[in-house]
Symmetry: C2
Subunit: 312 residues, 2 copies
C-alpha cells in the first residue's frame, strides 16, 4: 500500500529534505508552509506531519487522514472539540529533555551566579567581588515528571541538587529523591526552584495557584517552560511584586506574545524568554516521524500516541 | 606529640568552628584574620592553615612551621624565591570542580541562550522569539586537564559536547575525546569554547598568546577562570575589538582589581566576573585540612603537596 504524506510546517523544506534522505518506502511527499495553497485534493493525504496550529486550520478538508504526527509536544489546537478525532494523533516527546535542561539550568545558574547584577556592575565600570551562590544542596521541585522532568532530574543530580517530584501518580524517574501527589502545598515547602513542565490539560489549569505560590519560600525562583495555562498569572505577579517570591523565569503565558500592558513586563524580578525554551528542531523531530512510519508499515503500534480526552 | 595550629584566614572564625567540630586529637588552635596581631611567639606554630597571601606576610616569623595547608588552589605568594621553603606546602584541590562547572557552564549557556540580548529586549518591552543555540555537538577545549578540567569534561559530556584537552603530557580524564600536547594551534582550531584552567607557572605564562588566539574560529568564546598570567591581554583585547573572537568571559587578570582604564571594561563582548568563579568555601576546604592532619599524625604522606619548583 502506498502512502501520501502532507508536511505542513514552517520548516517544510527542512522536513522534506530530511524525510527524503531517509528513503522511506512507498511514500509520496508533499510539503508546504502555507495551508491556503492546499487544493481540493487535500482528501488524498492519509498522513500529515507538522505543526498542530497549522494542521487545525485545514483538518476539515483532510478527510482521508489516518495518522497525524505533530512536530510539537503540545497539541492543543487539535484538541478543539469541534474538530474531528477519527485519526491517530502522535506528538513529539523524548527530544526536548536536553534543550529544556539547557534552558532551566542556564537560568538557575544565572540566578546563583548573580549574572545580571554582575553585568550591571560591569557596565558601571565597577569591580564586583560579591560572592555567588551554588546549586549544590539546593532543592529543585519538578511539577510534572515525564521524559522532560526525568532529564531535568538527571541534570539536577549532576549538579548535586535534591529533587522533589510532583505527579498525578507515576514515580518513574529514579533520580527524583521524593515524590508528591495531590497536595501541592506540601510539595512546595522548602523549594529553592520550582520548574513547571506540565502539559496543558483541564487538570493542570491554574495548578500553580495562590495556595502553591504562598507555600513557596521567599527565596524560591519559579521557572515555567511548560504551558502558560498552568499558572494563575495574577497571583504570581502579585507575589513577585510583593517580594514573597525571589524571581520568575517565564517562557510561556496565557496570551502570547505577552500583551504590552501585562504587569510581568514591569517587574524587575521577572525574566521573559518569549516561548523559546525548547524550539522543535527539524533534525530532532524528523526521526520521530521516520520511526513511526516504519512502525506503521510494519503494522506495529505508533509511539507517543495522544489520548484526545486526557489531552496528552 | 602535640601540634600547634595557626589559622590565618578571612574566614578564621568559620574554620576554627569547623576544625573544632572535627575534634582532632593533640591539636591546639589559634585563629585570626589579621596577621599583624601575631606576637613574638609566632615561632611556636608548627602548622599553618590559611590564605597564601596572608601567610606570606608573616612567613619569616613562623620559624617553627613544618606544614602549611593553603585554602586556595593558587599558592603564588608562597612561591616567591625570597621566602623560605623548608616546610611541606599542600594546596586545595579536588574541591573546585563543581563550582567551576557551575561558572563555566552557566556562562556557556548564557551565551547559547542569548541571555543578555533577551534581557535587553525585555527591558525595551520587546517580545523576542529569536531562536537560541545549544551546547549539543559543540566543541569544548580545555587548556589544562587536572581535577578541575576533569570535572568540566564530565559536565560537557552530560550536555553532549565534544571535548579536546591540552596538557603537557598527562591523559588522565577518560571524558576527554582527544588530547593535544605541545602545539596549541592544532588544539585551538574548530573550538566553540576555550576554557583556561592552567596553574600560574613559568611555563604557562602567556600560553594564550597571539598565535593561539588567531587559531580560534571567530565564533569561539574564551573563558578564563584560571590565572590572569596565562593570557596575553593585549592580543586578546585586540582580537575581541576586531571581532576575530566572539566573546570572552574573564574572571582573572594580570592586575586585580582590573584597572579602570583597561580596554576590557569598554568591550561589549567581554564579561568580567571579578575573581569570583570558584571562591574557597570553608565547608569545602576544612575537610582537606582534617584529612591531611589525620595523615600527618598517622605518619602518612600528605595529599596535594606542592612542588615549589614546578609551582603546583
Amino acid at each position: 500500500m502506498n502512502h501520501s504524506l502532507l508536511i505542513l510546517s514552517r520548516h517544510a523544506a527542512d522536513y522534506e529534505r530530511l524525510l527524503s534522505g531517509a528513503a522511506l518506502p512507498a511514500l509520496s511527499i508533499t510539503a508546504t508552509a502555507d495551508p491556503t495553497h492546499l487544493s481540493a485534493d487535500a482528501a488524498r493525504f492519509d498522513l500529515v506531519f507538522g505543526e498542530p496550529a497549522l494542521i487545525a486550520t485545514v483538518l476539515p478538508w483532510l478527510t482521508g487522514v489516518k495518522w497525524v504526527q505533530s512536530t510539537w509536544a503540545g497539541v492543543e489546537p487539535l484538541l478543539n472539540p469541534a474538530l474531528r478525532r477519527d485519526y491517530v494523533l502522535t506528538n513529539a516527546r523524548g527530544v526536548f529533555g536536553a534543550l529544556m535542561s539547557e534552558y532551566v539550568f542556564g537560568y538557575m545558574l544565572a540566578h546563583e551566579r548573580l549574572m545580571f547584577a554582575k553585568r550591571d556592575a560591569q557596565l558601571a565600570g565597577r569591580w564586583d567581588p560579591s560572592p555567588p551562590g551554588s546549586l549544590r544542596g539546593k532543592q529543585l521541585g519538578l511539577l510534572g515528571v515525564g521524559t522532560i522532568g526525568s532529564a531535568l532530574a538527571r541534570t539536577a543530580k549532576h549538579f548535586q541538587m535534591r529533587v522533589k517530584g510532583f505527579t498525578r501518580s507515576s514515580e518513574t524517574s529514579s533520580e527524583v529523591d521524593q515524590y508528591f501527589h495531590g497536595d501541592t502545598v506540601l510539595f512546595a515547602r522548602d523549594l529553592d526552584y520550582l520548574v513547571c513542565i506540565m502539559p496543558n490539560t483541564g487538570a493542570t489549569r491554574h495548578l500553580v495557584d495562590q495556595a502553591l505560590i504562598d507555600a513557596l519560600p521567599p527565596r524560591a525562583v519559579f521557572i515555567n517552560p511548560g504551558r502558560g495555562s498552568t499558572v494563575d498569572e495574577t497571583a504570581l505577579a502579585s507575589a513577585l511584586a510583593g517580594g514573597r517570591l525571589a524571581a520568575a523565569v517565564l517562557d510561556v503565558f496565557h496570551t502570547e506574545p505577552l500583551p504590552a500592558d501585562h504587569p510581568f513586563w514591569r517587574l524587575p524580578n521577572v525574566i521573559i524568554t518569549s516561548h523559546t525554551a525548547a524550539l522543535s528542531a527539524p533534525p530532532d523531530i524528523a526521526p520521530l516521524f521516520v520511526d513511526n512510519y516504519r512502525r506503521l508499515i510494519a503494522d506495529q503500534p505508533l509511539r507517543y500516541r495522544v489520548d484526545f480526552d486526557a489531552g496528552y
